[in-house]
């Protein structure tokens, strides 16, 4: 169904579940490393392989991270909570259960204010954030698509099994209407920024350290009770979050409009087609036969401990933006543009490297944004660092580069010719400030265009432009144009 028609006839309800892998040194319940990309089954031990007799032990650092995340999300922290076993038979957990939390999450009842691209603020209520462990990675062999369906058999790598995971679950998000896909994306993006600021996770969606499952349902306009929802998995980029929600809304709209029923199921997002397809029918919570984990003592954070952790919270993204807006003297719209362009961190780093906010901002939003657009990449993907940009600005301010030459230098850096100083050297870019050399060039140009020279001598100063142009050409743009002009007029007795 056409998107416009969907939002005209239905109200979408979203529920977002974000899984964050913590960047602790070791796993949740054992001392195995958590590094991404190791050879399969080289970061495992009897505990995370679920071998008989092995006992888990909680990683205190992971609990700290969980509490800090909860606090940053304005949650209440449980005074007492337990781990629970979630029983199921997929082999991605060799224990036949995942150690998680059930009805006693460590953090609950919070919110995150999400700013949309046009500046509208949407409050996302957080239901809970709980601690659990990641599963192993399956490789499905046989079948056409590499998916679990139709596979002949599967291969399991348990390096990831047991990596500390925080699952952050929103309350049902209503009222977003046609902006629902955008809200979903903005929420995950804001959460990513928050987690990065807390320094608790790599938050790399491409590596799976931040993953989003999107629950979507539709209800006819005016209806109070929710429709049946689906849960879309494998949503591995911010853009995919938006696309997946939008696709599901259109798909469900079409089914409902024809009088059909939505099946409660897990769906799989396909990045290349932007569509979702049916996965397994969802188990109900009862089917997981949760029960309190007898091998792990309950977690009971004291008020003192929680307050200690609250004091470790860094400047949070929204606080930082507010400060930056003041420091850089930006209007709301200017700030928003920088945020939307992904330029804030780059400019801030350039300022840290010694440039003024105005200069740093001018480079990043003008010339460098242009370069990124031409290449079809994000600003941050340009192969120039804020420190290098600051160096170029320094060279301009010191008078050794003109603005035109500075762009040449930046082009050189982007082309992989080395640091700004190396490009200056390599491309022979230096402002000709040697007066005698400039004077010689001016005299030469005057001699080459005697009629123009005559005009200037007779007081038609505006004719000097032609000589300046010739000098700039002769010096390959390495002279200061204003200086050349002054020189031309002086040589002509002006």
């Amino acid at each position: 169904m056409d998107y416009a028609e969907v939002v005209e006839r239905f109200d979408p309800v979203l529920g977002l579940e974000v899984h964050v892998e913590l960047s602790t040194n070791t796993k949740m319940f054992c001392g195995c490393p958590t590094t991404f990309g190791a050879e399969p089954n080289t970061q495992v031990c009897p505990t995370c392989l679920g071998l008989p007799g092995a006992l888990p032990a909680v990683n205190g650092k992971a609990v700290e991270s969980a509490i800090r995340i909860g606090l940053a999300l304005n949650c209440e922290i449980a005074a007492w909570c337990r781990f629970a076993r979630k029983n199921y038979f997929y082999p991605d957990q060799p224990k036949n259960f995942q150690t998680s939390q059930y009805d006693e999450p460590i953090a609950f009842n919070g919110y995150l204010d999400v700013v949309l691209e046009d500046g509208e603020v949407f409050r996302v209520d957080i239901e809970r954030a709980h601690m659990e462990e990641d599963t192993g990675k399956s490789l499905h062999v046989g079948g056409a698509t590499g998916r679990i369906h139709g596979a002949d058999y599967s291969l399991l790598d348990y390096n990831r099994a047991g990596v500390p995971l925080i699952e952050i679950v929103t309350k049902p998000l209503e009222g977003a209407g046609e902006r629902a896909p955008e809200v979903a994306k903005a929420y995950v993006s804001a959460l990513r920024d928050l987690l990065r600021a807390l320094d608790v996770s790599d938050v790399r969606m491409d590596q799976g350290s931040l993953r989003c499952d999107a629950n979507v349902s539709l209800k006819p306009k005016g209806q109070a009770e929710f429709g049946t929802r689906t849960e879309t998995k494998n949503v591995n980029s911010l853009r995919s979050v938006e696309r997946a929600v939008r696709f599901e809304m259109c798909r469900q709209g079409a089914v409902l409009a024809e009088g059909g029923r939505i099946v409660q199921e897990t769906r799989h997002f396909d990045e290349s087609s932007g569509s979702t397809s049916a996965g397994r029918t969802k188990e109900t919570a009862e089917d997981y036969r949760y029960f309190p984990e007898p091998d792990l003592a309950p977690v009971a954070p004291s008020t003192e401990w929680v307050e200690e952790l609250r004091a470790t919270l860094p400047e949070l993204p929204w606080e930082r933006l507010k400060r930056i807006q003041g420091d850089w003297q930006l209007t709301d719209a200017e700030l928003r543009d920088l945020v939307n362009a992904g330029a804030v961190d780059l400019i801030a780093a350039t300022v840290d490297a010694g440039s003024s906010p105005a200069e740093a901002r001018r480079w990043w939003v003008a010339y460098l944004t242009q370069q990124a657009n031409t290449r079809g990449i994000e600003l941050v993907e340009l192969s120039i660092t804020p420190v290098q940009v600051a160096r170029v600005i320094e060279l301009v301010n010191g008078g050794s580069l003109t603005n035109t030459m500075a762009k040449d230098v930046v082009d050189g850096v982007l082309a992989g010719e080395g640091s700004p100083d190396e490009v200056v050297e390599g491309r022979g870019l230096k402002v000709v400030s040697d007066d005698s050399a400039l004077e010689a060039a001016v005299d030469e140009a005057l001699a080459a265009q005697p009629d123009v020279a005559e005009k200037i001598r007779s007081g038609k100063v505006q004719a000097a432009g032609a000589i300046v142009g010739a000098v700039m050409k002769a010096t390959k743009g390495q002279a200061d144009a204003k200086k050349v002009r002054d020189l031309v007029i002086a040589r002509c007795g002006g």
Partner: protein
């Protein structure tokens, strides 16, 4: 009046991946019922001032330092696996044709 139905036994059997015959469903429904009734008698004793016990020892906040400990090498990890391939545990097809 049995408190556990045949259907519930069938459902539990499916969750536990047990192949239970039609006759066994009736048999187990009856047996499970007796067990549940026996356990339910505990409820007659437990009063509201006795919280349900999930842990035998009254401990909280038992944490481990976030410090690496040596684990198993790949070969050791896979040594007990019925089948392995490419450094990974090989398992039978997870989902049937659906």
């Amino acid at each position: 009046m049995p408190s556990i139905s045949r259907d519930e036994v069938a459902h539990l059997a499916r969750l536990a991946r047990l192949a239970v015959t039609e006759d066994e469903l009736d048999l187990f429904a009856g047996q499970l019922d007796v067990i549940l009734q026996a356990v339910a008698r505990v409820g007659e004793l437990a009063t509201s001032d006795v919280p349900p016990t999930s842990h035998a020892v009254p401990l909280t906040n038992v944490f481990r330092e976030d410090v690496l400990r040596p684990g198993l090498r790949q070969q050791q990890a896979l040594a007990g696996a019925p089948a392995a391939e490419a450094g990974r545990f090989r398992v039978p097809r997870i989902l049937g044709e659906e």
